[in-house]
Assembly symmetry: C2
């Protein structure tokens, strides 16, 4: 009776994940880090209580899709338009510098290779992991400091969101390159076609959902239809256009983010996420990480990865801020505000693992980056904002 | 990439289930019926859009456990104690008459067999399906009629709850009998042992949860720990005591039903249920039902099953009501109030299918009973209550 076993697996996962998430919060670390550590503890590294199964992988898959859909729903399109060019430039610099430096870092460790080779794509992928800032952690810190509605706060927030979008585009391109049979041109063509079609489908879907939402506000059908749209867009993106499924889910979220009930949808999605799908996703990352197999090269690489990850964002975003006319300290604030990494970095890593581009040993580096950046950012931002008001 | 397919399966299931649930509500039928019909439509009977997969079965399994946990949470122990003996007697009569008549019905159709034989257990199982009244439908109708707080209403409600508990006990006994290697005595012994241990574990768990709840009311950890308890009790019941897992989930619900936050827990469980697990469970019943393979015997049996199901409850509960001193019309009201069937009847059927006692063709009979009883009860109760106030 193997269906019975999933009950025990789920019970162990949600209990440990919750316990370590709470512990993490107590230590001012992100809860996500706690859930991953829970996975490491119940996984092959330590207790070996739960093994990865098809069922857990599929639950984790739904979890990722729901997380990215929720991230898309949080996007405020009007805000994005307002802060416009400045934020976009900061975001671009904050994507491309880490992308290039991350790629170079891998090459320094494991050797340079010709463009297009598997090793080159792997290097590029390591860079890709470094691109996405974690919006949620940045927002939380700015809120706590009461700086969220300042011009600087708004710019950081918008840049963090745009940064996600560009990061997803980079991911889509890199994953697309992986298939050796496809030419870069074909990949680019299919990707562009997907975004064009998604744009028009988005207009139609938004209008339809807006009408349904106006007629039946706050009813269960709103989140249910929305989730179905997210699932279908993920499926279509991956199956027919070779675009990462999480891109489809994120876009579905962006499309529905202007609905009156977008918060209502997000709340329902989140309740589903936090109870089962989220903990299973983050714990399953821990389950797939076997720290016993780590060697010293990976450890050294992980440390370098963290340093490059943090400094490249500070230099990229802060440097662009300086170019755009922000004063030294404000530019530094922007850079530090943008250096946190979170769920999206993990999701990108997991996608690379699934696509066979990188191995699971890189989870260690990413987890380290998330934990360290999430702990450092609040401390540094606090220091930078309170020391002397600029 | 089969994990991708689950996205499409889930999208189709939640969309169709929601659409037909809404349609059912418009036609004053229970929404559950709509979700089952959605499953029949997307399943092998008609469109063949979705096939049952391991993943869907496992999601459905979690769905059943959550449903029964939620049903347990709704149990009001204090109310039960108050209405006490009267309701218990009505419930007993309402369990045993349908059980006996259902068993006889199967024997009339398919022949009598010696006690303990597979055919005998199958007959007994058909009777078992008829035992559980659907609390939710009864409650909803009484609420709409404004009769929920009358003495009669309270008695019906309490009887419906006790009836669930006795029904679960009967199910546990019948499923236990199925294993040919186990003696009835051993089964009974293990079952009694489980309930005794669950009683003591329940006291401890309740005290622990009460303390956690008082310290951290309305926090996410409350529903998460509660759900983990439900999963673990289900697992332990089935694996170590041969007791149906849903019994464990129901008991976990009963244990936690007196918590201050029991409604908060129920609400979180329900949001998880209604979005994914519930629709998957009910639709998967439709997916397992292939109406194309129905023969005339099953159809005839199904009709007889519905008639016996309705009349045996009216006679059992109404008759006992009459014995306890209720006037003719009040006794009839009790009988009609107790004749609705719902989720629990389906869950019992599904358990029988899983244990290899009955075939999936009996879903038709059960679905018919649920739909007809849920449509008839409101109409008859309305007529009985408004015609002349007794």
């Amino acid at each position: 009776m193997e269906t019975l076993d999933i009950l025990m697996d789920m019970a162990v996962i949600i209990l440990f994940a919750k316990f370590f998430a709470l512990l993490a919060r107590k230590l001012h670390a992100p809860q996500v880090a706690g859930e991953i550590i829970a996975g490491i503890i119940i996984g092959p590294t330590l207790l070996n209580l739960v093994q990865t199964t098809d069922f857990l992988n599929e639950m984790a898959e739904l979890g990722v899709i729901l997380l990215m859909f929720s991230a898309g729903l949080e996007t405020d399109l009007r805000e994005l338009k307002k802060s416009g060019l400045k934020a976009t430039l900061i975001a671009c610099a904050g994507v491309f510098l880490p992308l290039i430096l991350g790629t170079l870092l891998y090459m320094c460790f494991y050797g340079f290779d010709v463009a297009g080779s598997p090793e080159f794509i792997k290097a590029l992928f390591i860079g890709t992991i470094l691109t996405a800032t974690s919006v949620s952690i940045t927002v939380q810190v700015l809120k706590e400091l009461g700086k969220i509605s300042t011009e600087l706060g708004m710019t950081i927030m918008s840049a963090a969101i745009i940064d996600d979008v560009i990061g997803i585009l980079v991911l889509t391109a890199v994953i697309g390159m992986k298939d050796p049979s496809s030419s870069i041109l074909l990949v680019a063509g299919k990707t562009v076609l997907f975004f064009v079609l998604a744009f028009f489908a988005g207009i139609v879907l938004y209008q339809v959902m807006k009408r349904i939402d106006e007629r039946y506000p706050h009813t269960r059908r709103i989140p249910i239809i929305s989730i179905a749209i997210a699932f279908i867009m993920s499926y279509v993106a991956d199956r027919y256009f070779g675009v990462a499924d999480i891109t489809g889910a994120f876009l579905a979220g962006v499309i529905l983010s202007s609905l009156k009930d977008s918060e209502y949808i997000e709340r329902r999605v989140d309740i589903n996420s936090y109870t089962f799908f989220g903990p299973v996703f983050f714990a399953s990352i821990g389950l797939q990480t076997n720290l016993r197999t780590l060697d010293s090269t990976i450890l050294l690489f992980s440390l370098a990865f963290v340093v490059v990850g943090l400094l490249s964002k500070i230099a990229g975003c802060g440097g662009m801020g300086r170019i755009l006319g922000y004063k030294g300290k404000d530019a530094l604030r922007i850079g530090v505000g943008m250096m946190t990494r979170g769920e999206v970095a993990l999701i990108v890593t997991q996608r690379g693992l699934k696509a066979g581009i990188i191995g699971s040993e890189y989870f260690t580096a990413v987890i380290l980056l998330i934990v360290i950046s999430s702990l450092l950012t609040p401390l540094l931002l606090k220091a930078l904002f309170t020391e002397k008001t600029a």
